[in-house]
């Protein structure tokens, strides 16, 4: 029973959607169009003229070892960020769900990290793990481990993953917690009587009932790790060492604004655009199927 508002004229509805259309046009359609257009050209070193190259930029990119390795780091990075932000979130939500008293306080405290801006979170983690003054790296040193994410690519990757996932745990926790609360108690009790102990119940009953939420979070987190982790990477590693943490989005920035290769940068953002589109289509297809189960 959807309530629909009917307008008599055409002007008022147009006027009402105008701000949204305007914002989308200015900040999305126009730049996207520009990117597609620009990806077909190579500008000269001084930015004074453009030479049409067709799909040349794309051909170059797919032949480029660094670009392929950036795909690889992006895949690793997004898988790790998604796992590192979803599994602890689910675990915390399960614990908070079992609490009778004080779950409100835990909930509030667990949500806080989400309010920290990515760049700030990045700086925070950078200081903690700073190779000279960082608290954590000092303790690791005491334990005999020589932490140096400035030189070690895997350590750098680990650090940006941790910093990116940290704030995200809060967001995922909220969704998992709400979904857990929606699982009917009697279904859990029925499973307990059927002989399933806690973890068995969790894996055979609770987790399947959470699947719409889990899938939604999976897609949202993958998109997040693809596109919204720029601030964290920029503040902590700036894509280094040796491009170990240069994910696709960072490479768009590095090639376009630092390397001034606007054609290649535009081509990369077009590829990213296609990836977002693909992910969005996947998400909608799946959610439409899952929601009515």
């Amino acid at each position: 029973m959807e309530k629909r508002v009917t307008f008599r004229g055409v002007m008022l509805p147009l006027l009402l959607i105008a701000p949204q259309v305007f914002i989308s046009a200015v900040f999305f359609f126009y730049p996207a169009g520009q990117a597609i257009w620009q990806s077909l050209f190579i500008p000269d070193p001084f930015g004074l003229s453009n030479q049409f190259v067709g799909t040349g930029n794309f051909e170059f990119l797919f032949g480029d070892r660094h670009y392929r390795s950036s795909f690889y780091s992006t895949a690793i990075f997004s898988i790790l960020v998604t796992l590192a932000s979803m599994i602890p979130a689910l675990f915390l939500a399960v614990l908070a769900d079992r609490l009778i008293k004080g779950s409100g306080a835990y909930r509030t405290l667990l949500i806080w990290p989400y309010a920290v801006a990515p760049a700030v979170a990045g700086v925070l983690w950078m200081f903690m793990f700073n190779t000279r003054v960082g608290v954590v790296s000092w303790y690791l040193g005491q334990l005999g481990y020589d932490w140096n994410h400035v030189l070690n690519g895997s350590e750098a990757m680990g650090l940006v993953v941790a910093a990116s996932a940290w704030g995200r745990i809060s967001y995922n926790f909220l969704f998992f917690f709400a979904a857990l609360q929606a699982v009917p108690r009697s279904v859990i009790e029925a499973a307990a009587i059927d002989g399933a102990r806690f973890w068995r119940r969790f894996f055979t009953i609770v987790l399947p009932l959470l699947s719409p939420t889990t899938f939604f979070l999976l897609v949202v987190n993958v998109v997040y790790s693809f596109f919204e982790t720029f601030g964290v990477i920029h503040t902590i590693t700036a894509g280094g060492p040796q491009q170990a943490t240069t994910i696709l989005v960072y490479k768009v920035y590095a090639d376009g604004f630092v390397g001034q290769d606007l054609g290649s940068s535009a081509a990369q953002s077009v590829i990213l655009l296609l990836i977002v589109g693909l992910l969005t289509v996947l998400q909608f297809k799946f959610i439409e199927k899952r929601v009515h189960y």
């Binding site: 009917p184 279904v187 009790e189 009587i193 002989g195 399933a196 399947p208």
Partner: protein, 349 residues
């Protein structure tokens, strides 16, 4: 097959006592109905037997063995929930076989048992459906099937029929009773519906505010209610309860003697079931009829005792349309149908 014993069973939530000591011996194969108004603790009592609530004090014995500390799964019980509690992501067959799968039974055996139970419950052909695709009655049967396949010693039912429509409820009531006696499994059945209690129970526990008001067969409870609460809760329409006096071995309603009593003189509560009074021009009860409800087989007359504000209901056999507003009728009552209760304690005298 099993016996269940409750020994001074108590339950408190913090300082809030919800069950005040219940003692009962349930023999093998008995169908026990726990009946009472909502909030009386009947579901809590059942959940304590199931192991879904901890026992504050007292003991639950299943087959003579203390079960207080046992997990629900180790008690050899099966439970049917009010909302059925089916696993929404599993098919009917998977729902029924879940417990067996966890017990590690081989696949073929599970399939055979599930099929047999489905056949018993007329669920053949629905085994591949999801709970969402079933009607209320079918879901109810699946929940029953899930309980049956595990061959438990005790069935626990928590208001299993309250989500069904009236017609289906009558049908399922008979089916559950029939199934239980066919399988010979001890059953505890919680309901707020006194008709279910009367028709299904071998014995019933009438509960009120955490206390077992009476434990007995339906006819015992109906014929000799041990408390005012049991008297008014069981039987439909509810028993009339009137303030009366005992004087000179007679129960006096105002200055009219209704029946004899050898109890000591003083105030008393007189209980008269509507269906136990009969029209009698010389009868001691004068009633002003305000409303009549012809139900077909019988007619309910609602009104008050003549000259008072005391409400009174009579149920007469057959159709009586002749009564008009304000018309007076006289009723007589068989002395054996007079129930006397202590006005202080509510206990039967």
């Amino acid at each position: 097959m099993a016996t269940v014993t409750l020994k001074n069973l108590r339950k408190s939530f913090g300082s809030d006592d919800v069950i005040h000591g219940i003692d009962m011996e349930i023999s093998d194969g008995e169908f026990i109905v726990i009946v009472g108004p909502s909030g009386c603790g009947k579901s809590t009592l059942l959940r304590m037997v199931a192991g879904l609530e901890t026992v504050t004090e007292g003991e639950v014995l299943i087959n003579g063995e203390r079960a207080n500390e046992k997990e629900p799964m180790d008690r050899d019980i099966a439970m049917v929930f009010q909302n059925y509690a089916l696993y929404p992501h599993m098919s009917v067959a998977q729902n029924m076989g879940y417990g067996l799968k966890i017990a590690g039974m081989p696949k073929q055996e599970i399939a055979a048992k599930v099929e047999a139970a489905a056949h018993l419950l007329q669920l053949d052909g629905l085994l591949d459906r999801r709970p969402k695709q079933l009607s209320g009655g079918q879901r109810q049967r699946v929940a029953m099937g899930r309980a049956i396949v595990r061959e438990p010693s005790v069935f626990l039912f928590d208001e299993p029929l309250s989500n069904l429509d009236a017609k289906l409820r009558v049908q399922m009531r008979l089916e559950i009773k029939e199934l239980q006696s066919k399988l010979g499994v001890t059953a505890l059945y919680v309901t707020h519906d006194q008709v279910e209690a009367m028709t299904m129970a071998d014995r019933m526990i009438v509960m009120n505010a955490g206390v077992a008001e009476q434990i007995g067969t339906p006819m015992e409870v109906y014929e000799t209610p041990q408390s005012l609460f049991a008297a008014q809760f069981i039987g439909s329409p509810a028993m009339n309860v009137l303030d009366a006096q005992i004087a000179d071995g007679r129960v006096m309603l105002g200055d009219v003697a209704v029946c004899d009593s050898d109890q000591r003189a003083g105030p008393v509560k007189l209980g008269l079931r509507p269906e136990h009074v009969a029209p009698d021009p010389q009868g001691p009860l004068a009633m002003e009829v305000l409303l009549s409800e012809p139900l077909g087989a019988n007619t309910l007359l609602h009104g008050r005792l003549a000259g008072t504000e005391i409400a009174f209901t009579a149920s007469l056999q057959g159709v009586h349309l002749a009564n008009h507003d304000g018309e007076a009728m006289r009723f007589g009552v068989d002395p054996v149908d007079c129930h006397l209760f202590d006005p202080e304690t509510g206990h039967r005298l």
